[in-house]
């Protein structure tokens, strides 16, 4: 009898606990749901001090891939927007010291001509020269393209193409990837009778920032990153008195924005 009483009391205690827990949960759910209904969409603050800024207005829809709630989104076309510790700052990766246009020519490497002569020494006038510029060492957000395994597969594909298709091929990487070297090599190929056709492949990052009016492809400048575009290349072509590149037959630019950069004026 005594045992039955103890067992009964225990069951009663357990039941009471169950009821209180479920009520507690229900209360918490209600609180959270209530809180969620009060959450507003993140407000967008525009870095209005920048006179060049345009394109975004308050209330622009924005999707945030973040698990936590975001209360504030600051947008700036420059890389200077300060992060005051609330929400998200969307700004540009284009750094202040990057150069573009006619300032983005970079240096001519001392041995560029030597590299060219070494590569074409065994070809005749029907030969194909493959030129590949691989700017895989330029760091964006502390990471370079080369550190990514997927880029190395693409680099392999380009190297295989150079080896199989080119009677001669030149692969330039790192500091050799300057606009100056590129145009100079195209000019050397144009002048050399042994070269029949030139195929050009460039692998890098593409830039298109309409607000800052910076567009082109990333290469090496003199001591910094250069955003090389048509202006840069045309300036160099003028310098080298290039009228036409008759031997250039194929240009492959497998990276961001090159199509859009051109298409925007069509």
């Amino acid at each position: 009898m005594k045992n039955k009483l103890v067992a009964g009391i225990l069951i009663l205690i357990v039941l009471l606990l169950e009821v209180s827990t479920s009520r507690l949960i229900a209360t918490n759910d209600g609180t959270i749901l209530g809180e969620l209904t009060r959450v507003k969409k993140p407000e967008i603050y525009i870095d209005s001090f920048d006179p060049h800024f345009r394109g975004f207005t308050n209330g622009s829809p924005i999707t945030v891939w973040e698990e936590k709630l975001v209360s504030r989104v600051v947008i700036s076309p420059t890389s200077k927007a300060s992060n005051i510790g609330q929400g998200i700052v969307l700004n540009s990766s284009i750094r202040e010291d990057w150069v573009t246009g006619i300032d983005a020519t970079g240096r001519l490497s001392e041995d560029t001509k030597e590299i060219f002569l070494k590569s074409v020494e065994n070809i005749n006038n029907t030969g194909v020269l493959v030129l590949a510029f691989l700017s895989t060492d330029i760091e964006i957000l502390n990471e370079s393209l080369f550190c990514d395994e997927r880029t190395r597969i693409v680099v392999d594909e380009i190297l295989r193409f150079a080896e199989e298709v080119g009677d001669a091929s030149i692969i330039l990487t790192g500091n050799y990837c300057t606009a100056m070297n590129l145009v100079y090599l195209l000019w050397l190929a144009e002048e050399d009778r042994r070269v029949g056709e030139v195929y050009l492949v460039i692998l890098t990052h593409g830039v298109l920032n309409e607000t800052l009016q910076i567009h082109g492809m990333l290469m090496h400048g003199e001591n910094n990153v250069a955003v090389v575009n048509g202006k840069t290349l045309e300036h160099l072509a003028k310098k080298l008195r290039i009228e036409y590149l008759n031997r250039l037959k194929f240009v492959y630019l497998p990276f961001c924005n090159m199509g859009r950069e051109k298409r925007n004026l069509r």
């Binding site: 394109g55 891939w65 890389s79 969307l90 700004n91 540009s92 990766s93 284009i94 246009g101 490497s109 041995d111 590299i115 493959v130 590949a132 060492d137 760091e139 080369f146 997927r150 190395r152 693409v154 392999d156 594909e157 380009i158 190297l159 150079a162 080896e163 298709v165 009677d167 091929s169 692969i171 330039l172 990487t173 195929y199 492949v201 990052h205 593409g206 298109l208 920032n209 309409e210 082109g216 575009n229 048509g230 202006k231 045309e234 036409y244 590149l245 008759n246 037959k249 492959y252 630019l253 497998p254 990276f255 961001c256 924005n257 199509g259 859009r260 950069e261 051109k262 925007n264 004026l265």
Partner: protein, 350 residues
């Protein structure tokens, strides 16, 4: 909290055309120009599309049959029979129409762009089917009875066209697509200059003799070792073609007599299929033995030696591991082969 970076404001204004990279090539040449529209994500689709473009063109496929007379001893009767060995080296082009990309291993949620967009975890779903071209060579060795027929070579041409990718745009020369001629016999060895990867600046710091100083110093050492891995990969890319060229040159010079010239093609094909499948293959091979390689590289760097020797040693090790099976047909003992290669490449394997 994170900071995300963007560059592509999709504007309606037309401001760049004449000063775009494409416009320069359009103005100064009649080249066919291929570009990608908008953001380009480094995913399986992208890699497949690059592969599709660069592997397109005309292939000369060679089928080589070499017959060598031999005497075969019948194990049961002890009788000596006249026979011959047939070496068959056949080029093969396989095209696969894949609805899923062939590099799905690299097509996770983490898409990296080749613009400056941040590394958002954005899902880009593959919708296109790409034609992927794989070039292989097969070596087969068969023993026959009887008199050997005359050795012969058969050649045929195969054309592979590339798939048009929805995001890709063509500018410049209109008309028929350019057709690349892929060659295997007289390949040009690419001249490689520069660094694929730039090591961060070496900062010399004095940490002091205290416990904290020692811990900080060891953290710097560990960081150096981690960076050494990228340095090794960079060196592999830099010296891959030099070493490949040295090995193939050695094969050409060694098998130069009229009676052993035939051996070049099967040996090179074997190496093409096993070891020289691209610099990234050597990197994958290196990754399997990364601990050892990093430790050797660390000692080499400390001793002031260039890492090119390590790459040569790696390739020799890859030959020993991957090409052992088929090379024994040529009566090469692996030790002898490795000894000679070590000498050719100037590596002390001890």
């Amino acid at each position: 909290m994170f900071i995300c970076h963007f560059v592509t404001w999709v504007g309606k204004k037309e401001i760049y055309g004449n000063s775009s990279v494409v416009a320069f090539f359009e103005k100064f040449s009649d080249a066919q120009i291929l570009t990608y529209e908008g953001e380009t994500y480094l995913n399986g689709d992208y890699i497949a599309s690059v592969q599709s473009v660069l592997s397109a063109g005309t292939y000369e496929l060679i089928e080589e049959h070499v017959y060598l007379p031999v005497e075969i001893i019948d194990n049961f009767t002890g009788e000596i029979v006249e026979g011959y060995i047939e070496f068959r080296v056949v080029d093969k082009i396989e095209e696969t129409n894949s609805t899923i990309n062939p590099y799905e291993i690299y097509d996770g949620n983490d898409n990296v762009t080749l613009g400056l967009r941040s590394r958002f975890k954005r899902r880009v779903v593959s919708r296109r089917a790409y034609k992927v071209t794989l070039h292989r060579k097969n070596v087969k060795v068969v023993i026959h009875r009887g008199d050997p027929p005359k050795s012969y070579v058969k050649r045929r041409v195969k054309h592979v066209s590339y798939e048009v990718v929805s995001k890709r745009e063509t500018f410049g020369a209109r008309g028929s697509k350019i057709s690349f001629k892929h060659k295997y016999e007289s390949r040009g060895i690419p001249v490689v200059a520069g660094r694929f990867w730039k090591p961060p600046k070496n900062e010399r710091k004095c940490f002091g003799d205290g416990v904290t100083g020692k811990i900080e110093a060891s953290v710097v050492e560990v960081r150096k070792v981690i960076l050494l891995v990228d340095e090794i990969f960079d060196t592999i890319y830099k010296y891959y073609y030099d070493i490949k060229s040295a090995v193939y040159r050695w094969i050409d010079e060694t098998f130069n007599a009229p009676w052993n010239k035939w051996i070049r093609s099967p040996v090179k094909t074997t190496l093409d299929n096993t070891v020289f499948r691209g610099a990234n293959f050597v990197i994958s091979f290196a990754k399997r033995y990364l601990k050892t390689i990093v430790s050797v590289a660390y000692s080499m760097v400390k001793a002031g030696k260039a890492l090119s020797g390590l790459v040569a040693a790696l390739i020799i090790a890859a030959i020993a591991k991957c090409a052992r099976g088929i090379l024994k047909y040529f009566s090469w003992t692996m030790d002898k082969l490795l000894g000679v290669l070590s000498k050719v490449l100037g590596v002390d394997l001890s």
